[in-house]
Amino acid sequence: MSDNSKSLIGTKNKMGQTYADIEDFFNGKIPKEQFFMTGSEIVKEAVKRSSVGMSISYPITPQSEAAALVGELWVEGYVDAYFRGEHEFAVMSECAGASLGGCRVFTTTSGPGTLRAYENFPMWSGGRLPIMLCLMVRGINSPLSIQPDTIEIGMLLDTGMLIWHAEDAQELFDFILKGYVVAEQPDVHLPIAVAIDGFFVSHTKEMVEIPSPDYCLLPYDPYRSPVPVMDMETAPMRVMRDPFVMKSNYISYMTHTSWQLEIRAAIERSRKYTRKLMGGSLIDVEDGDAEIILCTSGTAVSQSREAIRLMKAKGMDVGLVKIKSIRPFPTEEVKKALDKAKLIVVPELNISGWMAKEIKSTIDRNSRVMVGPHVAGGMTMPPEIIVEEIEKEIALRKES
């Protein structure tokens, strides 16, 4: 049973949008236009072109605006169903129901909302539900902060979800469209979190170039799912009957383990699709032969770029590795890209340093990794501070 939806390419949906292949959104075949937009506004534009069946969210800063704008798409007719759940746990459970029923689903949340919904995320992956979660990250710890902090990404690492981290609004747009395509492959079929740093991306206007709204992604074909879609009218899907967790029929420990291994296998399988749509690699490398490499994701990359400019002006030999996909983690790419570096600096917008831990567990000679500099709770990370911390580290290493 091949991908039946491909036969729809060139035909129109009920809104008059033409179904197009994902490649055509990015290879120049579909005309593009430039706009000055916030990350929240770009979410609306991406969802408009993504043939989304259902969107459910619960408002939380800084995600609220994006969720509200998706609601406008429902009024306009681009999204089939839209509502606000009771709270994030309910929202993510409702997303699961919609996805099990065969819908393409979009949701978005932030910080404490992510944690309130948390139980659902491994359930989504265990259920092989390719739900798109746009994560506009913010602080979660007490005392309260509504500002950007990437610690919640670190808490999602072992949920079985795909996790991509966009640096800016343009990448956010691209990742939403590409994310659906990768997540819905029958051999992948997993939920995907496309994360951005709240406020820095969600509430900041920047130039973006987006394809014409006259085109949209091919619809989701739930009948290619690796698990039965919950279609109670159509055999063989009625074989499901019980919810997939089989409430009255506990599975063996071995089945549970094999099941979880299969989720990890599905993450691995996503690599080839992701590489293809991300230009050949899960990372971007600039000046990769440099002695000092700054390696990070999200807006920490933007700050790192500026720090690199300052360091180069001082005559320092410095380059950049930008990590776009966190799950799957670009193990081989990172190993290769960091092989020659003498000092690897991992600036992060969180207190835990989860990215540095990921990198340290991936490469050999990991004492080369400088864990930090860190900021948290919404502090900005001025490039001058990155430079200062690197210079201190170099001096310390020389002393020792």
Binding site: M1, S2, R128, Q185, P186, D187, H189, Y223, R224, S225, P226, V227, P228, T234, A235, P236, M237, V239, M240, R241, D242, M246, N249, Y250, I251, S252, M254, T255, T257, S258, W259, L261, E262, R264, A265, A266, E268, R269, K272
Partner: protein
């Protein structure tokens, strides 16, 4: 890691998912034999040989070919049935071909009738009971095929073949992708050819 081979078990208390050991699924037109890329023609020949050498060659049709739920399924189901008839026709003394369905995916506790069905949560029971040494999954939803195939590799010495309608199963010892009635018929024809019938 790149040299990991997907071979008949019992492999380990907990065999890894082949994908996490570096085994990648084939692109269109390809197949996998024991974790290595192969052409579809090579795979047809390899699978046919395995079926002919087996003592209990068995087909495990799943829900996607057991119910006539979509155009084309009836033809595919007939191809599966024809393959079973082929296995019986070419069987030599001592060979016992079987056709055992996987009608649904809920565990059959406390006891499964291993003579008549297989279940993805404890596929080893059916394989042990019937002494199945070569089997083919067809029409099983991919997730359930993969969890079964790992359990089979861990617990039994059965050689597994996957005839997958989507992108294939690296947890089987060999896999076809984009399975169609024609592809199943080609496998039956290859079995006949190698059997000299």
């Amino acid at each position: 890691m790149r040299n990991y081979k997907v071979v008949a078990g019992p492999e380990a208390y907990l065999p890894p998912a082949a994908a996490t050991m570096g085994v990648e699924l084939p692109d269109e037109g390809g197949a996998l034999i024991e974790g290595s890329l192969a052409t579809e023609e090579e795979a047809l020949e390899h699978a046919a040989k395995k079926f002919l050498e087996a003592k209990v060659p068995t087909l495990f049709p799943g829900p996607l070919v057991l119910w006539n739920w979509r155009d084309g399924v009836e033809k595919k189901a007939k191809a599966v049935r024809d393959m079973f008839e082929t296995l019986k026709e070419v069987a030599i003394p001592g060979q016992r071909p079987m056709l055992i369905p996987m009608p649904d995916y809920r565990p059959k506790y406390p006891k499964i009738d291993a003579e008549t069905e297989i279940n993805p949560n404890h596929p080893n029971l059916t394989i042990w009971h019937n002494k199945i040494d070569v089997c083919m999954f067809v029409g099983v939803h991919c997730h359930f095929a993969n969890i079964s195939l790992k359990i089979i590799r861990g617990e039994t010495n059965c050689y597994t073949v996957a005839m997958c309608a989507q992108h294939g199963h690296e947890d089987a010892m060999m896999t076809f992708r984009d399975a169609s009635a024609d592809k199943i018929n080609q496998l039956s024809a290859k079995i006949r050819e190698l059997a000299g019938k």
